[in-house]
Structures are given as structure tokens and as C-alpha cells.
């Protein structure tokens, strides 16, 4: 009865291994002390479009998305090096203000533009070091940049930054008018508990894990920032990467993880309370927003389960270690020599299994759980930019309403025949007409930005998830291979019992 066998898993997958380029350098826990040459991942695409864009002049104003007339476009999404100059006039004429009139051709162009996002900038965050003592201590990280872009002062350089500096960067970027509609990558969360432990001492396992988790998260954060075409152009980003002494960021109090979420949700509430409901003639935004919300919810659920897995694996790890010791003791007291030996060997196998479980738990956490955490926050940021668009719309509507009131006031004044007041009224009308035009243009611009950003984001997300999950599975595969070795070594020992 106890000889029941397991069901043989059907081999429905045909083994067809194709080595593929690795992810863009989301790091493993043991990369802290590596040399600069190992800091960067191997994501090199055919040609750099930013080389063409980056003439050192940062245009704060992304009003005209298609002003990048010299960006490389390619009809082949897999990255051929064919250069195709988009014609300026074509862009100008297809640029229509209202989302309702968004032509399919423009959308195609957006997608093609996304396909050629390649940036010759690599960043890495390494060497966490505790600075100072006691409760004022903090951790400083080395931020290294490797680039061929002329807008930077050199090709390889590094600076030291602390956590609040990263938060400060986010703070600056998130309030820029010019970046409204952009998906600004959110930084990792603050942790008072984690940091307090580190201030006390950086040597115990939980502090080591905390620091490594944070280092890896900061690296991913920066990598996302620099791979964003608009953000890379931003002088604050450049300053963050290059400047030796960065003034301390002071407004980061609000930016705990909970604070960030609160910000997003407050914006959502404001939007929900809007009295004038938007009439979306283009359902793209509504549909997409719904998709984003659903996905965020799904990822949260998944994250909870992966966290549970991490904990159970850690538990398994501990219990296996304890069992291994117990088994060794049993082997010692067994008076049949061969059996005693076999039990000791089994205890060693269990010890090795503990090691495997430890590594698997780390993989579960650093590769899978953190990926999910990142994207839950990123989806929050996506929701944020949809809200920014709504607020822009609201501003436009309010301006129109004000303009209307001004016109009515002018009409009344005409009747009442008060020439000086009339003049003022006319001036105000002109002013508000300009504003209405401006706000409408802003709204359209943000709409375009949001669409472009979302497309880009979805591509990045797909790439990220695929590469990370593949990495996760590869770690699992290696685990199994080692497991097989352990048991193959043990089997003859068991058979030798007599």
C-alpha cells in the first residue's frame, strides 16, 4: 500500500532550448561587491535613437510629441537597423487636438516609436556602506553610470547617494508640469523598522537581507528612470547621476510607501467627485484604466501568495536543518554500523536540502515577489497619470465655464452701457479664451503622452515579467539538478545497509 507511485507528469513540453538575452540587470543578492565591469547587463539594441535626440538641450516642453523628427523609426518591431526619417509635415498635419479625432496612423506611429526605445545608459547601485553612528546613521550607496551619450560629462562615473536622495528625485519629477501624463517610476518604500535595525548594526542576517533588498530595488528604480526617454532628458535626473554633492532632499516625509499610495488614491477620489462627467468619445482611456485596475488587483493577490510561499520555504528551511541534526543523532545511536552510516549520510543530504531551500526562498523573494511589488507600485503610477489627464480635462472645462460666464457678463455690460467696465470685460475674455485654448492643448498633450506611456509601459512590463520569470524558473531548474546529485550520491549508501 505504501508502494503507491506518483503519477508520471506528462512530458508535453518539447525541449527546445534557445538561449536568450538576459534581463536588464535586475540583480541577484550576491552582487554587492562586484567590479564595475560586471555591473551592467547585456541589453544592447541595434542603434541608439537618443544619440540623435540628445543634443544637450533639454526641452522641458513635450508639447509636440512628434517634434522628435530625427528619431529612428522602423517598421520592423524586432529591431532592425533600417533608418526611416519621418516627414515633418506629415506629423504636423496629423496632429489633431481632440482625442476623438485620434487617427489610427498616429497610433501606429506611437507604437513604432516604442519599438525603437534603446538607450545607451546603464546604471547600477552597489556597495552599501553605513555612514555615521547611532540613530543618525544612514546607508550610502554607490551609483555608477556608464554611457555614451554626449550630454553627460564623461563615459563612466559614479557618485554616492543615500535613500532620501532617491526619494527626493522622485519628488522633483512627480511635480513637473512637463512630465504630466508620464509614468514616473515610484521609488521603493520607506521602512522605519528596517532602517532602525540597520542603524543598530548591519551584520545580522535580517539587516543584510534588508539592505540587499533595498539596494536591488533602488537599482531597478534608477534603471527604469534612465530607460524612460523623457526622464533621461530631465536635468534633475542628470544631476542625480552626476553631481558630486547633492543637496539633501527634505520633502520626503510624505513619501513612505503608504504615503505614495495615499497620494494616488486622493487623486482618484478628487476625480470621482468631479461634477462634470467626461464624455469619452474615445473609449480607449476608460477601457485601459479598467484593465490597469484589474491587473493591479490580480497582482496584489498573487503577491500575497508569493509572500506566503517565501515564508513557508523559510520555515521548511529551518525545519529541515533541525531534522538533519536529529537524524545525525539517531545515526550516532544506531548500533548497526551500515545503518548508522546511512543515517548520517541522510542527515547530510537533508543539510544540503536546507541549503537548497534557503536559495529557493531567496529566489522566490528577490526575483518573484519583488517583481510583483514593483509592478503593483508601477500600476499605481499608471493610474496616477490617468488621473492627471482627468484633472487637465477638468481644468479645461472649468476654464470654458469661466469663459462662458465672462461672455455673459460682457453681454450684460453691453446692455448696461458701461464702456470702461466693458473694456475690462473684453480683456478678460481674451485672457480666458487664450487659457481655454491652452488648457485644451494641455489636455490633448497629456492624452497623447498617456497613450504613448502606456504602450511603452506594457512593452516594458511584458519584457520584465518574461525575463524575470524565466530567471526564476532557471533557478528552480538548477535546484532540481543539484537535488538529483544529492540523492544519486545517497542511494548506494542506502543500498549498502546490511
Amino acid at each position: 500500500m505504501a508502494d503507491a507511485d506518483s503519477d508520471d507528469g506528462e512530458d508535453i513540453f518539447v525541449s527546445n532550448s534557445n538561449p536568450v538575452s538576459v534581463s536588464r540587470g535586475v540583480s541577484q543578492p550576491d552582487r554587492v561587491t562586484e567590479e564595475p565591469s560586471d555591473l551592467f547587463s547585456e541589453e544592447e539594441e541595434a542603434a541608439s535613437s537618443t544619440a540623435a535626440k540628445a543634443n544637450g538641450v533639454h526641452s522641458d516642453d513635450d508639447n509636440d510629441l512628434f517634434a522628435d523628427a530625427n528619431v529612428e523609426l522602423s517598421t520592423d518591431k524586432s529591431g532592425s537597423s533600417a533608418r526611416k526619417e519621418p516627414s515633418g509635415p506629415r506629423h504636423a498635419s496629423s496632429f489633431t487636438p481632440s482625442p476623438a479625432a485620434m487617427q489610427p496612423t498616429s497610433l501606429e506611429q506611437l507604437e513604432e516609436e516604442e519599438a525603437k526605445d534603446s538607450f545607451d545608459v546603464d546604471v547600477a547601485v552597489t556597495n552599501p556602506e553605513k555612514v555615521g553612528d547611532g540613530m543618525n546613521a544612514y546607508v550610502a550607496y554607490k551609483v555608477s553610470t556608464r554611457t555614451s551619450l554626449p550630454m553627460f560629462r564623461s563615459k563612466v562615473f559614479s557618485v554616492r547617494r543615500r535613500f532620501s536622495d532617491f526619494l527626493g528625485l522622485y519628488e522633483k519629477l512627480s511635480v513637473k508640469q512637463s512630465l504630466h501624463g508620464c509614468i514616473i517610476p515610484p521609488p521603493p518604500e520607506k521602512s522605519v523598522v528596517g532602517m532602525t535595525k540597520v542603524k543598530v548594526g548591519m551584520d545580522d542576517p535580517s539587516s543584510v537581507e534588508f539592505v540587499e533588498r533595498r539596494r536591488a530595488a533602488l537599482e531597478r528604480y534608477l534603471q527604469r528612470v534612465v530607460s524612460h526617454p523623457s526622464l533621461l532628458q530631465d536635468p534633475d535626473v542628470r544631476e542625480f547621476l552626476e553631481r558630486e554633492d547633492l543637496p539633501r532632499a527634505v520633502n520626503t516625509q510624505a513619501l513612505s510607501g503608504a504615503g505614495f499610495l495615499k497620494m494616488i488614491n486622493k487623486a482618484s477620489d478628487a476625480v470621482n467627485k468631479m461634477t462634470i462627467k467626461m464624455n469619452e468619445s474615445d473609449t480607449w482611456f476608460e477601457d485601459k484604466f479598467q484593465e490597469v485596475e484589474n491587473e493591479e488587483q490580480q497582482l496584489r493577490k498573487l503577491h500575497v501568495v508569493v509572500d506566503s510561499l517565501v515564508n513557508h520555504r523559510k520555515e521548511l528551511c529551518g525545519n529541515t536543518a533541525v531534522f538533519a541534526k536529529s537524524l545525525a543523532m539517531l545515526g550516532n545511536s544506531e548500533d548497526n554500523t551500515a545503518l548508522s552510516r546511512a543515517l548520517s549520510q541522510l542527515a547530510e543530504v537533508e543539510d544540503k536540502m536546507e541549503q537548497l531551500h534557503q536559495e529557493q526562498a531567496a529566489s522566490d523573494f528577490f526575483i518573484f515577489a519583488e517583481l510583483l511589488g514593483d509592478y503593483i507600485r508601477l500600476l499605481g503610477a499608471v493610474r496616477g497619470c490617468f488621473d492627471q489627464r482627468m484633472r487637465a480635462w477638468q481644468r479645461w472645462q472649468e476654464a470654458q465655464s469661466t469663459l462662458q460666464k465672462k461672455r455673459e457678463a460682457e453681454a450684460k455690460l453691453l446692455w448696461a452701457n458701461k464702456p470702461d467696465k466693458l473694456q475690462q470685460a473684453k480683456e478678460e475674455i481674451t485672457e480666458w479664451e487664450a487659457r481655454v485654448t491652452q488648457y485644451e492643448r494641455d489636455f490633448d498633450r497629456i492624452g497623447m503622452t498617456v497613450r504613448k506611456e502606456v504602450l511603452r509601459f506594457e512593452k516594458e512590463k511584458a519584457k520584465d515579467f518574461k525575463s524575470q520569470i524565466i530567471k526564476y524558473l532557471e533557478a528552480m531548474l538548477q535546484s532540481q539538478q543539484r537535488l538529483i546529485k544529492f540523492w544519486e550520491a545517497f542511494l548506494p549508501e542506502a543500498k549498502a545497509i546490511a
Binding site: L330, L473, M476, W487
Partner: protein
């Protein structure tokens, strides 16, 4: 049988097994099936239905029989315990509203599998007990055993009355007090001295290893459950749309479905081959300790009888009575010692054989499962990387 698969010498054929079992609300009914050429049975092949308490009655009757003082009494099977499983099933029923139909069906299937595994185990343990008795040259001839096997009516032994329960309680108290006695008195016979030292230590370590193996396997099951939920979650994500990424999620979900089945099997196999093995030898080593205790008691009785005889001779009173008593004690002690020695040697043989069998099977199963997992992962990665 599960743990014990060693061929012991048998005179006439007596084969016992549990051919069927039925789990009802609060009891399990085992169908005990016997094949025998022994003349004292009415037929050569027959079956009866027994419940757990009747097994316990049989075991206790062996323990209480003075004639069997010199044997290791096969340990009683543990009570069938479906409480935890039933509780989980109930919780699942209560939470039915809060999960999707797929999730519910999945979890229900798993609980049913768990229930089935516990059921199989309890059947195996009851069967092992009977097989051990049937294989023992002396116990197999026991009248109560034959009644147990053949009498097709209820043995009416369920629920000991209060008086009996109290007697049991005191018996155990006395046993443990005497445990100190056993440990203290050094034996003249080297063999038994060694066995005493060995068994005391071995028993404690097996107990420790058994408890810790249980905890380890439980963590393993928990991890497998999480992988199951991850698979479901990925499936939901994958069905949101038909993009490349969604297809990717669906493939990975499929992989996790398969690997977690393997992980669950690994935990189940570790349970059967390792945890159950340790549990069984925990009980057997206790039975061996009980034998040593009975021998020590007999030795103490013998020594006391010697002292009483000396006293009687000195006073020249009741000498014949004292002589008879002393001779009885001597005979009892020698009889126990002789059979105990053989029993302890057999115990070692059985133990080594059982460990060998189970450890070999454990290693083979672990290898099989690891290779299965590896194949799944290689296949899946091949497809996933090919598409990226």
C-alpha cells in the same frame, strides 16, 4: 505491508490482511481477511469486520498475558484521526461563497486526496499490527487472536468501563516509576546491559527525529499549497487578455500546476517512507523497552524470592513455600531472558531491514520526482525562451 516486509519463518500458513475498509462519520470499519491452513479454524479463508477498539483489546490482552512477558508485543496501531481533515473540509464548506468555482473544486479535490491518504495510512498501520502478530511463532497461536480473526460478531469491547480505565492509569504510573529502577540496576549480563543502554538512547532519538520529520513535511506541504494558489492566480492573469504576456502566464501557470503536484507527492512519499518509519520504530522501541522492564521486574522478584528463601531457611519457617516461590521466580526470569534475547536480536534484524527498504525507496522516489520536475522545467523553459 507498509513498513514491515520481511519474511519470517512460518510453520503452517497464516496470512492476514485488511482487504477492505470503510470510513464512516465517526469510525472506520476494517475488513480483516484471513487465509490459513491451521486446523483450529473452521474454514481456510474468511473475513470479519473489526473496529479500532477491537485491535486495542487484542493488543492489551497480549500485554496483560504473563505468558508473553518475554516477547516484544507488536505495538498497537494509532487511533484513526480524521479530525484535522474534517475540520478543513468544514472550513472549506463555510468559505465556499468567497471563492470561485474553480478554486473551490480544486481545494475540495485536494482535501479529498488528503483524507484518502490518511485513510490509506491508518489501514496500513492496522494491517502491519496483524501481520506482525501472524508472523510471531508464539503470538500467532494466541486464542484471542484467533477469536479476533474468526468470530464474526461484535467483540463488544468498545469503551472500557471506568474501573478498567483507572487500573490502566495506575499500571502506567507504576511502569514509569519502575523505569527508574530499570535504568539504575546494572545488569550482570552484558548483552542486556548493552541493550538497555542502547534502547533508552535510541528510543529518545527516534522520538525526536519523528517529531521533527513531521514538522519538516508539514512545511513542505504548505509550500506545495502555495504553489497551487500561485498557479491559479497566474491562470486568472493569463485569461484577462490574449496578449503575448497573457499566453506566457498561462504556460507558467500550467507548469506550476504540474510541479506542485510533484511537490505534494514528494511530501506524501517522505511522510510514508520516512516519517511513518520513524513513528513505527518509536512504538516498537517502546515495546522493546517494555520487554526489558518486564525482565527487570522478574529479576527483582527473583532476587526478592532468594532473599525470602534465605530468611525462611534461617528462621526455619515456611521453607517449602519459599523454595517453591523462588523456583517459580527463577524459572520465570530465565524463560523471559531466553526469549527476550531472541526477540531483541530479531528486533534489530527487522529494524535494519525496514530502514534499508524504506531509505532505498525514499531515495528512489526523491530521484524520480526531481527528474520529473527537471523535465517539466526544461520543457517549459524551452518553449518560453523560444517564444520570447
Amino acid at each position: 505491508s507498509a513498513v514491515l516486509n520481511v519474511d519470517l519463518q512460518t510453520d503452517a500458513m497464516l496470512q492476514v490482511d485488511i482487504s477492505d475498509a470503510l470510513s464512516e462519520r465517526d469510525k472506520v470499519k476494517f475488513t480483516v481477511h484471513t487465509k490459513s491452513t491451521l486446523p483450529n479454524f473452521k474454514q481456510n479463508e474468511f473475513s470479519v469486520v473489526r473496529q479500532h477498539e477491537e485491535f486495542i483489546w487484542l493488543h492489551d490482552s497480549f500485554v496483560e498475558n504473563e505468558e508473553y512477558a518475554g516477547y516484544i508485543i507488536p505495538p498497537a496501531p494509532p487511533r484513526p484521526d480524521f479530525d484535522a481533515s474534517r475540520e478543513k473540509l468544514q472550513k472549506l464548506g463555510e468559505g465556499e461563497g468567497s471563492m470561485t468555482k474553480e478554486e473551490f473544486t480544486k481545494m475540495k479535490q485536494e482535501l479529498e486526496a488528503e483524507y484518502l491518504a490518511i485513510f490509506k495510512k491508518t489501514v496500513a498501520m492496522h494491517e502491519v499490527f496483524l501481520c506482525r502478530v501472524a508472523a510471531h511463532p508464539v503470538l500467532r497461536k494466541d486464542l484471542n487472536f484467533h477469536v479476533f480473526l474468526e468470530y464474526n460478531q461484535d467483540l463488544s469491547v468498545r469503551g472500557k468501563n471506568k474501573k478498567e480505565k483507572l487500573e490502566d492509569f495506575f499500571k502506567n504510573v507504576v511502569k514509569s516509576a519502575d523505569g527508574v529502577l530499570v535504568a539504575g540496576v546494572k545488569d550482570v549480563d552484558d548483552f542486556f546491559e548493552h541493550e538497555k543502554t542502547f534502547l533508552l538512547e535510541y528510543h529518545n532519538r527516534v522520538k525526536d527525529a519523528s517529531a521533527k520529520s513531521d514538522r519538516m513535511i508539514r512545511s513542505h506541504k504548505n509550500a506545495a499549497d502555495d504553489i497551487n494558489r500561485i498557479a491559479s492566480s497566474l491562470y486568472t492573469l493569463g485569461t484577462q487578455d490574449s496578449t503575448d504576456l497573457c499566453k506566457f502566464f498561462l504556460k507558467v501557470s500550467e507548469l506550476f500546476e504540474k510541479t506542485r503536484k510533484i511537490e505534494a507527492r514528494i511530501a506524501a512519499d517522505e511522510d510514508l517512507k520516512l516519517a511513518d518509519l520513524l513513528k513505527y520504530y518509536l512504538r516498537e522501541s517502546q515495546a522493546a523497552k517494555d520487554l526489558l522492564y518486564r525482565r527487570s521486574r522478574a529479576l527483582v522478584d527473583y532476587e526478592n524470592a532468594n532473599k525470602a528463601l534465605d530468611k525462611a531457611r534461617a528462621k526455619n519457617r515456611d521453607v517449602l513455600q519459599a523454595e517453591t516461590s523462588q523456583q517459580l521466580c527463577c524459572h520465570k526470569f530465565e524463560k523471559i531472558s531466553e526469549s527476550a534475547k531472541q526477540e531483541l536480536i530479531d528486533f534489530k534484524t527487522r529494524r535494519v531491514a525496514a530502514f534499508r527498504k524504506n531509505l532505498v525507496e525514499l531515495a528512489e522516489l526523491e530521484l524520480k520526482h526531481a527528474k520529473g520536475n527537471l523535465q517539466l522545467l526544461q520543457g517549459c523553459l524551452g518553449i518560453l525562451k523560444g517564444n520570447t
